[in-house]
């Protein structure tokens, strides 16, 4: 996951969607039809994004723990940038 690899052309004019809500769940899969004995922790995220008309769309995805930690590191960078700007 790299940040700022190339700025999007007219990013601002294209992006009319806004993040309105962020929900998360930390879970552990203990069993599944493919594998009876699991110990698989994951973070599931539900984002709510509103478009210019106000219509809210929901996006769900999940991350493994290393992926989540990587995600968090990106946020740390964003926070640092916001502070210095």
């Amino acid at each position: 996951m790299e940040a700022c690899s190339e700025p999007p052309l007219d990013a601002k004019s294209e992006v009319t969607n806004q993040l309105v809500d962020f929900q998360w769940k930390l879970g552990m899969a203990v069993s599944s039809d493919t594998c009876r004995s699991l110990k698989y922790p994951y973070v599931a995220v539900m984002l709510k994004v509103a478009d210019h008309s106000g219509q809210v769309k929901t996006k769900c995805f999940e991350m493994t723990i290393p992926q989540f930690q990587n995600f968090y590191r990106q946020f740390k960078e964003i926070a640092a940038v916001i502070e210095t700007v």
Binding site: Q18, L19, L26, T34, L38, Y40, A44, V49, K59, F61
Partner: protein
């Protein structure tokens, strides 16, 4: 050998229910080219380098970003970049195929035999088998299954911090905004703006998740994090 004899016999006798005939290996009817290319490089490869690369492939299967670490290894191990690419692609495909749903009935001996048929050195076969059939199997197996009972994963995440200096409505506004682009493993991409106040909430939530993870680890001694 006995394996190909059974396969040939099944072909002629049409035994559709015999899934253990070993007709088609876990790598499929056609050997993926990256696996074939990787196999050719393994003979001369330094064993310690192989094991380090294998560790990175296993980590990347679980979603970790190992690109920098892999590049460092390539430099210190004096590996040509093309070799690095071939080795990683081959190892990744090999492991992913061995951990796929259709490989549930794959036995360790069958796995080893099929790798030996590809002329993969004996000692490296052992290392690969210990990954596929070792203690990490349950986690690797479930991560390799998507989709299935799992939600899409994050394939790519990009962000930009924008400063609006002025708009037609407001001169000298100096407004900060965060733009995010999320690409998921199901192929869909989402681009959206995060107002600064929302970002702070998000950022706080993530720190909270990390804290919850740490608490959970202490409570049940699960060892969630590496």
């Amino acid at each position: 050998d006995s394996m190909s004899a059974v396969g040939a016999a099944a072909l002629y006798l049409h035994h559709p229910g015999d899934s253990h005939s070993g007709q088609v290996g876990f790598l499929g009817a056609q050997l993926p080219p990256e696996v074939a290319a990787m196999a050719q490089l393994l003979g001369d490869l330094n064993r310690s380098t192989f094991r380090k690369l294998l560790k990175f492939v296993v980590s990347s299967l679980q979603g970790e970003d190992c690109r920098e670490a892999v590049q460092c290894l390539g430099v210190t191990a004096n590996l040509p970049e093309e070799w690095l690419g071939v080795l990683l692609a081959g190892m990744h495909t090999l492991l992913q195929q061995a951990l796929h749903l259709r490989s549930t009935s794959l036995k360790p001996n069958t796995f080893r035999d099929q790798l030996q048929e590809l002329c993969i050195p004996q000692d490296l076969v052992g290392d690969l088998a210990s990954i596929v059939f070792g203690s990490q199997r349950p986690i690797l197996y479930s991560v390799a299954q998507q989709p299935g009972a799992w939600l899409p994963h994050v394939a790519d995440f990009q962000w930009w911090v924008d400063v609006t200096i002025s708009t037609s409505a407001l001169a000298h506004s100096l407004q900060l905004s965060v733009l995010m682009q999320l690409k998921l493993s199901d192929g869909l991409a989402y681009r959206f703006e995060v107002p600064i106040a929302k970002f702070q909430e998000l950022w706080y939530s993530m720190a909270l998740v990390l804290k919850e993870m740490a608490d959970l680890e202490k409570k049940c001694e699960c060892g969630l994090q590496d």
